[in-house]
Symmetry: C2
Subunit: 390 residues, 2 copies
């Protein structure tokens, strides 16, 4: 996994996570380990991954192979320069990994969409008529995406309470368990990306928490969608996993019935088996396991999201984030938001003998962790965490 | 008005529009005309206005005063260096004026919102319950905002036609007559901007056409708002008018009843009397006047938009665009979109003896022009134009 870190008095720079250390890639390059790969080590000293991403997948793969070879056998290749190239993670500060031009949030988790429909439109079909025809999405706020560990301030805003207009701190602050795709290649305005080329445009994936103020959102969102209920902050993991590393976890998705239009038809397995957990640490309390879900529950694939996003000619840029929307599984225990877990506050979640939650309290820390684990192969997605303050 | 231009073999650079010429500000600076203003002329050679904007209003005002003094008396101060500092507009190419981090589109035109409500919810109140309590807004796409003159490709997408799912080029392509505020100062994540300080965060205004595919939007927008119906392209004028120059056109707005919450209460006149026109040129035809409206019809003020946008702690950055949403007046002839002018296609607009429009045809060029003209004072807002192609 790649990220942007600093330590001691260094400027932010690019690193690779290796167990509990960070590999300083500029130093690795200056020591000559990337010789004959035609890479200027200066690319590793930039404050965002974007310039590295722009090198393209063939270069990424060459670097990856070289590093893997060096790290084999417990990194003995680095034995003599260990302290120059490896920084212990306790010494580093992590930074936002990419400069994000645009951020799009999808709604590709069908069980989440059905749960929301059941709660708020109990009389009708839980899914709206368009749901199985297109991956519903909206544009989110890029400026307020922060790196894992950044505190999240409880937003103030307008909301309705028993028919009364209120103003104050949100009383329905929630997390949303999502994955974020980091776009790896720019497309041209006016030119769609075909569904079968779409994965070439993904640099990697991150864990993503799209914090949501349900009360603010509910009052504001008609007719143009969520705004202040979402844009006060989203958290992204510090480490980005290159998309190639998801290959071993490829699985088939849900059957799509009705069949989507041709521009949305994937060939092959385009879902991924990635286990995703939520943990909650109350102020002055122990970390508690909340739920576990899986990215394979997404109805729409990453490739379909990209094909749909660009079918009208909308262009993507390196560093754009496409988030999946909340990922929930089919039954309780696999829901990816407190809105669903507490069924809009009706069923408090008991997190200890004395504590329960419908929505988040000040001082709560929410941590998502993820991993692929299939056929004996394992990959770590790291974590994204944030603490609520008033 | 300031913009980014290039000519002959020059790189893009910052210019000031003066009648039918562009003043090359780097050259003016290198010739010493900005001496003792403590400005590095290199700021005028950047490909976007952002670094200039970051200098702040006191510096902007000092430059403005100096330039105004130099331009008095028909620019005789520049007589000896005329050909060095002035480039005729026929020789210049204009570029996107600002690097746009985030783009937000409001819905502040109350007559537009009422017209849309009357068309699509004929049985109910034309305004939704939240409309007079908060300035409704959503996030738009920054990557596809293009400078005036850039061709606009008709988007393809999904839409419903007589209950049948269709895919193809939009058959309901429209313009939306808007103003775009260019943010001039960054705010801090977590810190709201008060309504009475909000105008300090505006660098200037531009004309803005938020092209819309009504058929695509109608099918996709539930429950999370517009996406592909909007993000295929928006056009912004090449020239940005500094906000100070709007002072002579300040007027009181509509009475806001019910009174908004305290965080949205403006003091003083916070609307602006700015006349805005739409012109349409069919392929191989003459330019035809379509409608005229006025920015004073906006229900929510610029200051209220900024206060609302940040009340939850969402941060703004230099170069962000906040667009007003479609500006329509109270009666036909003052509507700012074809959706309203043709009443969703029911009343074709006759643009010549032989031509009519419900929505835009390929080859149509749409041009907005704007100006302030009040108490004998006049300011030109320039124009934004774009031609539709297939």
């Amino acid at each position: 996994m790649y990220g942007i870190f600093s330590y001691d008095t260094s400027t932010p720079r690019m690193g690779l996570k290796h167990k509990d250390h960070v590999l300083d890639l500029e130093v690795v390059g200056l020591l000559g380990y990337f010789d004959n790969l035609a890479i200027d080590p200066a690319v590793f000293t930039k404050p965002f991954l974007n310039d590295f991403i722009a090198l393209g997948k063939p270069i990424h793969r060459a670097i990856h192979q070289r590093i893997n070879a060096l790290l084999e056998h417990d990194a003995t290749a680095f034995a003599e320069v260990h302290d120059q190239v490896f920084i212990h993670e306790s010494r580093v500060q992590m930074h936002l990994p990419v400069h994000i031009g645009d951020y799009t949030d999808f709604y590709a988790g069908i069980h989440h969409a059905e749960n929301v429909g059941r709660m708020f439109r109990p009389q009708g079909d839980p899914l709206l008529p368009n749901y199985k025809h297109l991956p519903v999405a909206y544009h989110g706020r890029a400026s307020s995406i922060v790196v894992s560990g950044t505190p999240i301030r409880r937003p103030k805003g307008q909301f309705m309470n028993d028919g009364q207009l209120m103003f104050g701190p949100s009383t329905a602050l929630d997390f949303e368990l999502e994955l974020g795709l980091i776009i790896g290649k720019a497309s041209t305005l006016g030119e769609p990306i075909s569904v079968n080329e779409a994965e070439d445009y993904i640099f990697g994936i991150a864990l993503f928490n799209d914090w949501s103020a349900r009360d603010i959102q509910r009052w504001e969102y008609q007719p143009l969608g969520p705004f202040l209920g979402k844009n006060f902050g989203s958290s992204i993991s510090a480490w980005v996993l290159p998309f190639d590393e998801l290959e071993p976890f490829r699985v088939s998705g849900a059957e799509q019935e009705p069949a989507p239009l041709p521009y949305l038809q994937n060939s092959g397995d385009a879902n991924f088996d990635l286990e995703l957990d939520v943990w909650l640490t109350p102020a002055d309390g122990e970390e508690v396991f909340i739920c576990r879900t899986n990215a394979r529950y997404l109805y729409w694939t990453f490739a379909q999201m990209i094909a749909h996003h660009t079918v009208n000619g909308c262009n993507l840029n390196i560093g754009d984030v496409l988030a999946t929307g909340t990922i929930s599984g089919p039954e309780p225990g696999t829901y990816g938001s407190l809105l669903e877990i507490s069924w809009n506050g009706e069923r408090p979640l008991h997190i200890s003998h004395t504590l329960s939650r419908t929505f988040l309290a000040d001082g709560d820390t929410v941590t998502f962790r993820g991993r692929g684990f299939l056929n004996g192969i394992r990959v770590d997605l790291g974590e994204v965490t944030g603490t609520i303050h008033s």
